[in-house]
């Protein structure tokens, strides 16, 4: 990234290759929309280039990148109506899936139910659970992405996991 900041813009291609899948995974798990996620990955790299001068060569690049990704996602769903519509359509799709899954094997039903439970979490809770999945992000880095302390990031992750389990068990009754 330091080289990109210094003007070697072609080096951004290397960063893209290194992080595109992780970013796509983050957006896809947040929104369950592959096409939208591809657009949002592109937006992240547009911002990386635009704000390259604000990059400080301290800590990990990945935390700076995910901070941008988080903002890109928020900006996309900034209008609450838009967010509500997406949530509704997603819940609707999942309900449909559950309905068809009733005729299928139990595992499918279980997966759909868990996916639905994920949509019941707040955006912040989903975010912290998805970020926790990345091995290179410890609580310290997750805290940097979420603008909170390491201890706070840990508490948020624990609470989100507890909430997910509670919602799922409630639905599974």
């Amino acid at each position: 990234m330091s080289k990109v900041k210094a003007g070697e813009l072609e080096k951004l291609g290397l960063l893209y290759e290194r992080y595109k899948k992780r970013l796509f995974g983050f957006f896809y798990q947040m929104n369950l929309d592959a096409e939208l996620s591809e657009d949002l990955v592109q937006n992240v790299f547009v911002r990386v280039l635009k704000y390259r001068h604000s990059y400080i060569d301290e800590g990990q690049f990945i935390t700076w990148l995910f901070k941008i990704a988080r903002n890109v996602n928020y900006d996309h769903f900034r209008k609450s109506d838009k967010l509500r519509q997406v949530e509704l359509s997603r819940a609707k799709n999942i309900q449909l899936n559950v309905k068809t899954a009733e005729e299928q094997i139990t595992t499918m039903e279980y997966n759909d139910l868990l996916q639905k439970a994920m949509t019941q979490l707040s955006m912040d809770q989903r975010e912290v659970l998805i970020l926790s999945k990345f091995k290179e992000l410890k609580y310290k880095e997750i805290g940097e992405v979420l603008n909170c302390s390491e201890a706070n990031a840990r508490i948020k992750a624990h609470r989100a996991l507890t909430a997910l389990r509670t919602i799922f068990l409630e639905m599974d009754k």
């Binding site: 003007g7 813009l9 072609e10 951004l12 291609g13 893209y16 595109k20 899948k21 796509f24 995974g25 896809y28 798990q29 592959a34 996620s37 591809e38 990955v41 592109q42 790299f45 547009v46 280039l49 279980y110 997966n111 868990l114 996916q115 439970a117 994920m118 659970l129 998805i130 926790s132 999945k133 091995k135 410890k138 609580y139 840990r154 992750a157 624990h158 996991l161 507890t162 997910l164 389990r165 799922f168």
Partner: protein
Amino acid sequence: MNEKEFKESVFDYVLGKLSKDKAEQIEIFLRENQDYQGEVDQLKAIYQVAVPTNIPTPSIKMDDKFHEFLEEEIQSNASRKALLVDLGKLFSLDHFFGKFSFATMMLLIGVGVGYFLMDNNSSIHDQLVELQKESDEVEEVRSKLVMALINQPSANKRLQGINEVEKLDQVTETVISALFKTLNNDQNTNVRLAAVGSLSKYTQNPKVREGLVNSLVQQDSPMVQIALAELMVALQERSSVESMQQMLQKPDLNTLAKEKLEQSINVLL
């Protein structure tokens, strides 16, 4: 590990945030305390399924879009830098162009002052003629700047020269010839591609069309070959078919360029 420590760390274990040693301690504790095993397995399964690692792969379209964007940024960044450097040099009196542009500026200021000091009784017609003269002078200066830049050793400057052509209201034969010289002889592929782009704006001129057709066989770069083949199709220039067929005979022709040429011939015939 005791029960209290286990309860404090079990969520971190499920979330995969424990060190290898600590995770092993949790596993030992679980083996010794089977009552907790079911609960932990359930929590692990919930997290694994709710946030799966096997997600769809992004399409090639995403890569294409990114590389297109990056290429554009690199080009515009290079042009911006070159423009700043040239402007800096342009106004430095140590430089030939500095002297030249300074003299031109003085001339234009002189003309401007002359215009304002002109006899108030001069007719509108005279004023228009004067304005036209000024405009012609600016065009002439710009043409000279294009010619000067296009012959520079730096590829960035040559690219800038080609970009300057777009600012000209009318291109002279000399500028067209210089563009063809660049297209057929420049060592830099990007510069040659820019020349194709620039010349494509003057294809209403039969000489330009003829020049582009003749240039086809002289190109070695697949990118330039493809750009020219696409242009021939866009212009519906049937006379280019012979040149393209001639190119297809080249043993070292790039596969992509070969495909493009074959497609273009099929479209044109």
